[in-house]
Symmetry: C2
Subunit: 706 residues, 2 copies
Amino acid sequence: MFNSLEASPALLKLAVATFLAAALLGGPAALAAPFDEGMWTFDNPPLERLERDHGFIAGQDWFDHVRQSSVRFNDGGSGSFISPEGLVLTNHHVGFGAIQKLSSEGKDYVKNGYYAATKDAELKCQDMELNVLVSIEDVTKTIAGAVASHAPPKEANDQRKAAIARLEKEETEKTGLRCNVITLYQGGEYALYRFKKYTDVRLVFAPEEQIAFFGGDPDNFNFPRHDLDMAIFRVYEDGKPASTPHYLRWSVEGPKVNDLVFVSGHPGSTERLKTIAQLEYQRDVAYPFQLKSFERRLGVLKAFSAKSEESARRAKSQLRSIENTVKARRGEFQGLSDERLMERKADEEKKLRDYVGAHPDLSKEAGGAWDDVARARVKAKSIFVRSSFSTFRGSRLLAIAGSIVRLTAELEKKNEDRLEEYGDAKLDSLKLSLFSPAPIYGDLEETTLTDAFAEALEALGAGDPYVKATLDGKTPAAAAKAAVAGTKLFDAKARKELVDGGRKAVEASDDPMILLARRIDPISRELRKTTEDEIESVETVAGDRIAKARFQAYGRTVYPDATFTLRLAYGTVKGYTTAAGYEVPPFTTFHGLFERSGAFGNSGPFAIPARWTERKQAIRHETPFNFACTCDIIGGNSGSPAVNAKGELVGLIFDGNIESLVARFIYDDVVGRAVCVDSAAMLEAMRGIYQAEALVQEILGAADPR
Amino acid sequence: MFNSLEASPALLKLAVATFLAAALLGGPAALAAPFDEGMWTFDNPPLERLERDHGFIAGQDWFDHVRQSSVRFNDGGSGSFISPEGLVLTNHHVGFGAIQKLSSEGKDYVKNGYYAATKDAELKCQDMELNVLVSIEDVTKTIAGAVASHAPPKEANDQRKAAIARLEKEETEKTGLRCNVITLYQGGEYALYRFKKYTDVRLVFAPEEQIAFFGGDPDNFNFPRHDLDMAIFRVYEDGKPASTPHYLRWSVEGPKVNDLVFVSGHPGSTERLKTIAQLEYQRDVAYPFQLKSFERRLGVLKAFSAKSEESARRAKSQLRSIENTVKARRGEFQGLSDERLMERKADEEKKLRDYVGAHPDLSKEAGGAWDDVARARVKAKSIFVRSSFSTFRGSRLLAIAGSIVRLTAELEKKNEDRLEEYGDAKLDSLKLSLFSPAPIYGDLEETTLTDAFAEALEALGAGDPYVKATLDGKTPAAAAKAAVAGTKLFDAKARKELVDGGRKAVEASDDPMILLARRIDPISRELRKTTEDEIESVETVAGDRIAKARFQAYGRTVYPDATFTLRLAYGTVKGYTTAAGYEVPPFTTFHGLFERSGAFGNSGPFAIPARWTERKQAIRHETPFNFACTCDIIGGNSGSPAVNAKGELVGLIFDGNIESLVARFIYDDVVGRAVCVDSAAMLEAMRGIYQAEALVQEILGAADPR
């Protein structure tokens, strides 16, 4: 609605004013200046910057070709076509779920890898949907036109939602394609994305998980790296390999240092429009507390694991998940703690606020928004510690009890009046999880619940209502012991009986875990209401006002926040210098795989598959293995192709280093890096280690698709 | 004096009280507890800790043998005997000066390496002195007894100095050995060290500098590392290889991860008794300013270098030296900024102050010392910025002019009244440097001087006396240009004439650089006097009081600050996790050398010598190359042997990682690591790459020395 000149005479003035402001205040140019930043939509690639900074000039056909060679893995990942007969390259960790589902006793393809030397041997995946973005249409006018002028917010929102649903339905019927209206620039723009769907997807090639995820958790989010994180599938139509005329030619050599590379994929979500007040809150309040809390939990789980092998087994998945979270959060926190990055953020915010201040129309619309956010954050801070301890936290059983208590209460309300997560649409998957027969271990439950109670007691003091509700006059250990020892919720049948019995059954229950959840419930609901009414709603409205002001000021010279739709990023192949002054090279080689494996005694996460030891001499160790580049990516980009200026596939995105994790809030090209498998390495391994000659021939033998 | 029970009845009480305090306050044990910390004297190895923490038990002969196998390179390094016929192993960078002096046109042993396949081919070094510590004798009583009780400080100092000189002379005459009285524990203990001297030292083996210093400045102070930083010399007596019955057996395998290793070498100096007030001053005042200033200078030199190849050549040595300094300082600063380490320091200080507070005699002696230091630091802070700009800084010519102005003035005084650096004993080397014909480049001088003037102007403002003195009414650029353009001091002869002409000639000179130095001189002298009288002298006295209190409290359960005399450190072979969460392995291998070289295109500091490329297949790439260990080392330890529990040589210390640089102030075993060449790697390279079979046979063929 905001890039439509017809919408309002005032906006026409703004469009002109924007241009002047850009010149006077260093608006758009200043935002864009020295960085290879951005997750650009394919209908708005940064042509000027690509030409100015990299001498890259290409016609629309280049972008169309790359777009149509790009594939979305609907359960959260990216990929690309690499042959005219439907071969799709993605990460092993994107294909992991499918590979695991194809495995069975005696056929562990995760552990041993898989290669279909002929098409007959390709294994059909149980439930995989791939999408290809066929076309983009700007429908801002249509959606905006459906909203009555001066409609109050809720009404406008309903009208907009209805218009979107109508358009999506019409288009789906008309084209037979998957059609979604994508909200960009926080509502500054609406675009209709039409996708071709593939649901017959078959596994062609996967290496051993051990080499795909070499280095395991220690190397996760790090570089230098030595991972063959690849898997190859093929899409079928009508039982035959699909014809995919748009695919990426494979670069035999891979990229060179400083080469321009593009990443075409599906970044999940970013929060780059957060205000300084919000970021400072994250940095000063939320992250320090959460990191400390996570580390405390890690300590408890490690101590538990140390007791016996069986204890270690029981705690393993929880431990791994928290380790991964801590690492990611720490990366984001380090980024937020980097004064240089915060200064850049502050500078951007000041520029926009100055611009808004200089334009009365914008001022009226968005002038107070930053202060509204700041006030909301003050409120958030005042209830932060209490909010952190308000939920059914600390154990799986307590979470289950909490869900049962709430579900049975919420089901008595009309759908639209319920807490969001208990809406009709969500009930199936909620019940699936609630009634899962997966084993729950009493000793682990008691240990983590004791610690959660103790943590709350330390943070809030004995007089706090939540602490009183959890401890019920006991010590943390005694309270946890009583709840775990007496509960019947270990048994999925008991949970089902309670849910089936409804609120009455729950209120009549004397199960100590249910009683505990019932004591917590009202405290938790009250804090949630305060948070929603006094913080979240204020920030949503203010955030929209800021986003709109920003779109008016900068328009499409900036890129929208990520939305798990196709975006184009670009940058160069480049090493970096760590904070400790260590020069990290742009590339690793196979030499380094053996170095790192050997350095750790070829054991644990650093063990290489037997096949690699046996066929060590069959690969050229100096072949580039993984490389780092400055492209702007985030989760969801996994499996994205890295493409050179000629449109050839030179790499495969599979991770970002820990310094890149701040990308949630701000892009950084000083130490933040996207991490790719080199196309030369994939080829060398497919040939030398896996002897997948037929597959290599198909990939290399295909004629140029353009 | 303080470990002598006869000295004073009060001290006897203290000695007993110490024991009680240790038990009550957790004194000594608490200081020593969880770390493999310490640079121990050989007459006081930490036997209990070695047994308790590592199950290591050895008789005095073990320590005597390691001591007598250890060698000091008198120009600042360490080494060890590795054969009964006088072979000495040290670092390439310790032997560098000697190797360079042996090189000539067409015989560049630094670049190409050297190997003497027979003894005849061994090359005699021009000026090298090696020392071996033959015996240690506690002479505290003798030295203390020579000082009259109740003598005022200066008198006591003179008496002590005289006693030391007397004893050293006597012992030298009596034994024919080099005899030095070493002041330990800041005067808590005096020990007579007798050294055997070797002055006929010959070069046997040196690899190419390129592989000894692989990775150059970027890898300096870092780990993982891939350096063959070794050189082998042989000591001769009476023209024949010296008989060295004490030498270290070479371990063919090298160490394994977690192995206990000892480092026997000569740490130069540490400042571990600095108070929190002094460390905070360093962290908050001195380092931030100095790092910023160094980085500014780096920027100026880089801009200068970018102008042409010749400019780059002119600035190179200055640039390298500042780069190295910045890296080292930044490491120390990072360590001081680590709250965990500062908390440990604060904790140690609190324990000692509590202990002193609980003992009236000690309280009287040392109670106020910490506050005296803190007050002196407040004073230091108040004049810090002015002090930073008070010298003849910014250019070589100005430094020369300053020296000439001061030297000619000081020479008119009696020796004992002069500024320390113009004492008779120092005049020769001062003149050597002052009259050096090494070229000085006017353009570089003008550039750096301009920046130094500008930096002072920015920091102090135009009204400051130093700024007025330097600018003399001009802009920084004009002032620098005038001084450089008009001076004759480029010419060593002109300098000599001024010095020969004495104060009169200097005062009559109209050389603009001399005039500039004369304007600066009085301002500089005044600030220096304030610093010496109100800060340094206060801190010296307070520091001695604290050191004595510490020695009384802990005695020899702690180790003395480093003094470039033989010390024993110990620790384990161990990797670590960086701040960014990267797992650094304990070892590297030859694989990694080729990885890192290849990743940087085998160029610049990452290029490997041609011989290594040619003979790549002749070495087993999985051989451990460098390793990291937790031993407590610092500059001066370069070339020290790393020795296993059996007394075998398993490695060769050549560096510490950047995280270890804080060792100047405090030992850290969490991320701080000493870095060694693995004995297995040296063997593999000597055989496979250098085909030095005779040398290897001598090293391996020797019978066990014990």
